[in-house]
Every structure is written in C-alpha cells, then in structure tokens.
Amino acid sequence: MTPTTHVTSDPDGAPASQPVNPPRAFSVFSAAELKTALKKMYLIRRFEEAAEEAYQRGLTYGTMHLSIGQEASAVGACLPLGPSDYITSTHRGHGHCIAKGADPKLMFAEFSGKETGYCHGRGGSMHIADVENGNLGANGIVAGGIPIAVGAALSIKKRGLPNVALSFFGDGAANEGAFHEALNIASIWKLPVIFVCENNKYAMSTSIERALSVKNVADRAVAYSMPGVIVDGNSVIDMADAVMAAMDRAHAGLGPTLIESKTYRLRGHSRSDRNRYRTREEIESWAARDPIGRFEGDLIAHGLATAADCIAIREAAEAEIAAAVQFSNDSPLPSVDHLLSDVYTPVEAKP
C-alpha cells in the first residue's frame, strides 16, 4: 500500500508554500514555456472577469462557475501535458480549457451561445470541449468526467500510446459513486490516468467538514492502492511537479495517482450564490494567496522573468480576451433550422 504523500500541510489543511525537494518544473520547462503558463493564468482570470461582466450586463444566459483563484491548479496540472494527452473537466471548466490550450475566442463565443463557439452554441459554459486537442469536455454532472477519463486512459493503454488522461474534479465529486467506481477500475487495470481533485473546501455551500468523511480527499487513495498526494493548488510549480511524478508512474505502467490540489474559489459557486456559508475573513485570507502574484514571484525570484515581462504578459492576455469578447459579439447566433443536425452522426449508406 503506498501511503498518502503529504507534501507539506498546515493544520488548516493549507499546505505551506514550498515542497521539500527543489522543484523539477524549473529544470524541465523553459522560461518561454513558463511565461506561456503565466499568460494562461492571466487569460483565465480575464476570461472569467469578462464572463462575469457579460452576466452583470445581462448579456449572457444560463449559469456559470468561475475559477478565479484556482488558476494555478489548472495551469500547473496541464503544463506537463501534450496535445495528445486527454483531460476531462467540470462545471467549473473555463480554466482547465484554457490551460489545455483552447482558443479563448471560440470559448467566449460558446459561452455566449454563438454559432462560432466551440460547440456552435449547443453546449455553453458547462460543455466546452475540444476533443481533437485532447479536451474531452467540461461536464455538467459532478464526477461525470471521472470514469470518462478512465476510459480514455484505457484506450491509450490498448493502443500502446505514450499518453495519459487527467481528470479534474472537485472535492464534492469525491462523494459520488462514480469517483469510487472509476478509481477502483483505474487501479486494478493500472491505467495511465491522473486524478486531480481541486479541493476548494466547498461543494456549492457544503463544506468538506460536513460532507467528506476524511480530512483530505487524498486520504482515500489508500482505498484504491494508489498514491495520494496533497499539493498546494495555488502553486503552478507544485502542481506541475505532482503531475509529472504521476505521469512517470503512468508511463511506467504503474497506474493512477490521486492528486489533491488545495485551492479556493474567490467568487461564489455560481451566479446565484449569496455566500451564506463562508466568512469574509476566509475569502480574504485566500485572496491574499493569489496564485498569479505567487507565480510571478516564483518566476522573478528564479530570474525567469522580470516585472516588466509580467506586465507585458498581463496586457497581452487582456488584449486577447478583449478580442475574444469582440469576436463573440460580432458572431452570429446559431440558426434554428439546424437544431437537429448534430444529434446523430450523418452516416454514409454502406453498400
């Protein structure tokens, strides 16, 4: 039985900032790659803010789940992945999507229900996907993507490919039967899959203390004979390191890893949240641990970027999101004539 690996952990469940070993990510990724990661964090942040603005101005529809505060978790986990690695995502999926390399233009158009969006306006915020580039989609069903990632990993293994599948899900998802069944199957079949639980302390209004029978989601790894790793989810570098270790395991045929990313969402659960279940102090204490500033500090401290670089990156991201919003605004709505056209795959008649 591999024991749960607590990288480091304070009594609050929030890990201290530095893992014990020198981070591997700094030696693996070039300065350019790390700066691209920073850019993605800014893209996520601005995307979410733009989404929020659109909602406040009554321009969008439906619900949305913003990942502001969780950017490091998404970007760090996806940093080691290539385009042929798969991810599955969640209702809170914009960040994962951008981290996996999606085009914010097509995302914002999808978010706005436009024909030019990733899903031609069929899916919306909760269903943005880009299967060709390994993003098997956000998911409106809590834990719905976990077994799907296991299936992708099974397909990878069957075809002898050097890839992995990585499944993002929340702390709330860890109480779904789908989590249990999927982790058991992944373990017995030793599949190249990485489970990344983004524990932001709440499932909607329900705190982990009231819903989860263990202190850490990673404590459940032992029930599936896989390593359970707790990571500071607000650190890009720690997340990337943990995922690289899990990829090594997967590539060696040793099977899955459960990574618990301790993080926090700074916005409400969804647009209808009145924040009755947590304190302003708690929110502010986490706001002070902002993952973007944190990563900028890391980059500057390691001489990989200057403060001016960071500003330039932020501005580029802001411009890109502004362009994405413009693209979306300029885009046409879907045509009702095509309502039924994507239900089934058109089939050529077999001779």
């Binding site: 619900t63 834990a143 499932a203 209004s205």
Partner: protein, 346 residues
C-alpha cells in the same frame, strides 16, 4: 396561473374573495414548513437545501426554523441519498429528498425504480415506502443539455410510483401536502420557470388530490392536455385562439401517474379534437400515452381529427437561447398547431 375552476375537478373549495398571493416556490416552502411542523417523522434531505436554501431557494429559511436534524444537507451522492430516503421511509420516517436538478436523478434511478417503486409489491404488500422525491425540471434557464431535461415520462412508465407535476402555486402546495400524506413513493416535479410565478394560495394546509386533473379553461372546440409550464402557455394560446374563434378547453394533468383518464375522455367526447402539449421529448413523452389512451378508448369514435402532439424536439436541450426556445413548444407554436388541428377533418 388560475386556481382550479370547479370542485368536480378535485380541488377543495376556494374562497373566491381570497387574495393571498405566493410564488410557486413560496407555496412549496409553506407546504414543507407545515409538514415539518405537523409531523415529526417528516424531514428534508438534499444537496445545499439547508444553508443555501436549495438551488432554487425552495427550502430557504427552513433550516433556521427546524434545525439541521430536520433539514439535512447531503453530500453529492444522489444514489446513496435516495437509498437512505428509502430506508428511512421503510423504518417509519417520512423523508422528502430534493434532487438539485431532475437530470441528476438519473444517478438514482436504481433506488427509485428498483427499490422504492417495487418494494411494496415485491414484499407482498406488507409495507409501504412513503418517500417524496422532489426535483426541478425543464428548460428555459440556459442550463443546457444536462440541466434542462423533462424525463417525467420515464417515471410515469413505472408502476409503483406516482408522478405529480403542478402548474401553479395553489396546486404546488396542495399536491405537495397530498404527496406527503401518500403512503407510496411520489415523484414531485417542479418546473423551474414556475418558481417565481405568483398565485393565490390559502395559508391553512389543504390537499389537492393526486390523480385528478383540472379543467384549467373550459372550451368546446378542441381539448389541449398539458402540465406544468405548458398549462400557462396553453392558456395564453387559448386566449389568442378565442380571438380567432377557436374555443379551447385546457386540461391541467397535475398528475402523470395515475392519469385521470376520465376527465380527458370526457373532454375529448365534448370537443372531438385533442392536442397534447408537453415539454418532454415528443417520442414517448407523456403525450404519447394520452394519445394512445384516447385512441383505444370509446372517445376514439368521437374524434373529428387526428390527435396532435406538440412535444419537445428530438434533440437534447441546447444552450443558446434561440435554440433552446426552438426546442420546446412556445405559445406561438401552440396557437399555430391548434389552428391547424381545428381545421382538420377526418
């Protein structure tokens, strides 16, 4: 929303001068509060129903009144929660489980359909499973394909279940209290677009009997059978149609299982034309049953035109509002279809 028009349709007599108005959600909340007060066996379970007050705020404030023992937040565990409700009901409690969206009850079908619905029968009638499963249904809020379904027909296909779907605040309260009295498992579906709709609701507890449809509007030329949000849409259509000289009778099903076949048959015999309006996917939606029931009844002989179904599109519910609207019947669709039907002759 109109309260039922006649005592023969199953509603208790309503004081016509009463004007106390509640929203659909408030009416449900009042029913839940009264049930919790009246019967200590009753308790509520569901995701985020306590502190948050439920995704649609139906249970807002009940935690404060009744405490965490009676208003219980569950983990996100639909199957487990449904099983817990079934077990508690078997052991003598009266659980009411809220699914946050009907779509998530797909995770609990095993417990609902294999256990709750069948236990009484399998055990030879020696016990009952008095549990109420509540769930918001339907499209119109931009929830997209996994948060907008109307799968009521599934449950109406299952013997052992009762399936209730109110269309207005008055019925919401009365049917929920009736569901709580019922010794058997009741699926209670609440259309999301109705939650904020207001209507007259008496304060004292009352019951609207399960299994009785209401004639929401009497008419002579054509019968529309509908439920939930489609009742108000049909009533609105009926107004337009009246201006065009077509006098529509609108039947509010209220209960999808057991169906009030009597009321529907009587109406069809009177009007000789039948149209079923429903949000669920057209194929095998509730309108299929109503149509088939009429086509094998003696009302068949009275029909002056084919039976028309106006159901949901043969697609998942799309996200984009323009598509979402196109996927389910709207007032204009009902008007157009009714006009066509009124002209048709066999």
């Amino acid at each position: 929303m109109t309260a039922p028009l006649s005592a023969t349709t199953g509603a208790l007599p309503v004081d016509p001068t009463a004007t106390r108005e509640l929203s659909f959600a408030e009416a449900l909340r009042e029913a839940l509060g009264q049930a919790l007060e009246a019967d200590e066996r009753v308790f509520l379970m569901g995701e985020d129903i306590a502190i948050y007050g439920g995704a649609f705020q139906v249970t807002l404030g009940l935690l404060e009144r009744f405490g965490h023992d009676r208003v219980m937040d569950t983990p996100i565990s639909e199957l487990g929660s449904a099983g817990v409700a079934v077990g508690a009901a078997l052991a003598g409690s009266r659980p009411i489980l809220e699914f946050q969206f009907q779509d998530f009850a797909t995770l609990a079908m095993e417990q609902i359909v294999n256990q709750a619905a069948k236990i009484r029968f399998m055990f030879g009638g020696k016990c009952s499973v008095p549990v109420v499963f509540r769930a918001p249904t339907g499209s119109g809020t931009g929830g997209a394909a996994q948060h907008s379904q109307s799968l009521e027909a599934w449950y109406a296909h299952v013997p052992g279940l009762k399936v209730v779907q109110p269309s207005n605040p008055y019925d919401a309260k009365g049917l929920l209290l009736a569901a709580l009295d019922d010794p058997d498992p009741v699926m209670f579906f609440e259309h999301k677009l109705l939650y904020k709709v207001k209507g007259h609701v008496p304060e004292a507890p009352y019951r609207v009997p399960i299994g009785k449809a209401a004639i929401a509007r009497p008419g002579t030329h054509l019968t529309i059978v509908a439920s939930a949000i489609m009742v108000s849409r049909s009533l609105e259509a009926a107004k337009e149609l009246a201006e065009k000289g077509i006098d529509v009778e609108v039947i509010d099903l209220r209960t999808l299982r057991p169906l009030d076949t009597e009321t529907i048959i009587a109406s069809v015999k009177k009007t000789t034309r039948l149209m079923c309006v429903y949000e669920g996917v057209k194929t095998l939606g509730i309108g299929a049953e109503i149509s088939a029931m009429i086509a094998e009844s003696d009302a068949f002989d009275y029909l002056d035109a084919p039976i028309l179904r106006l159901g949901g599109a043969e697609s998942p519910i799309p996200y984009s509002p323009i598509l979402e609207k196109a996927a389910v019947p709207q007032v204009a669709d009902i008007v157009a279809a009714a006009e066509r039907l009124a002209k048709k002759r066999v």
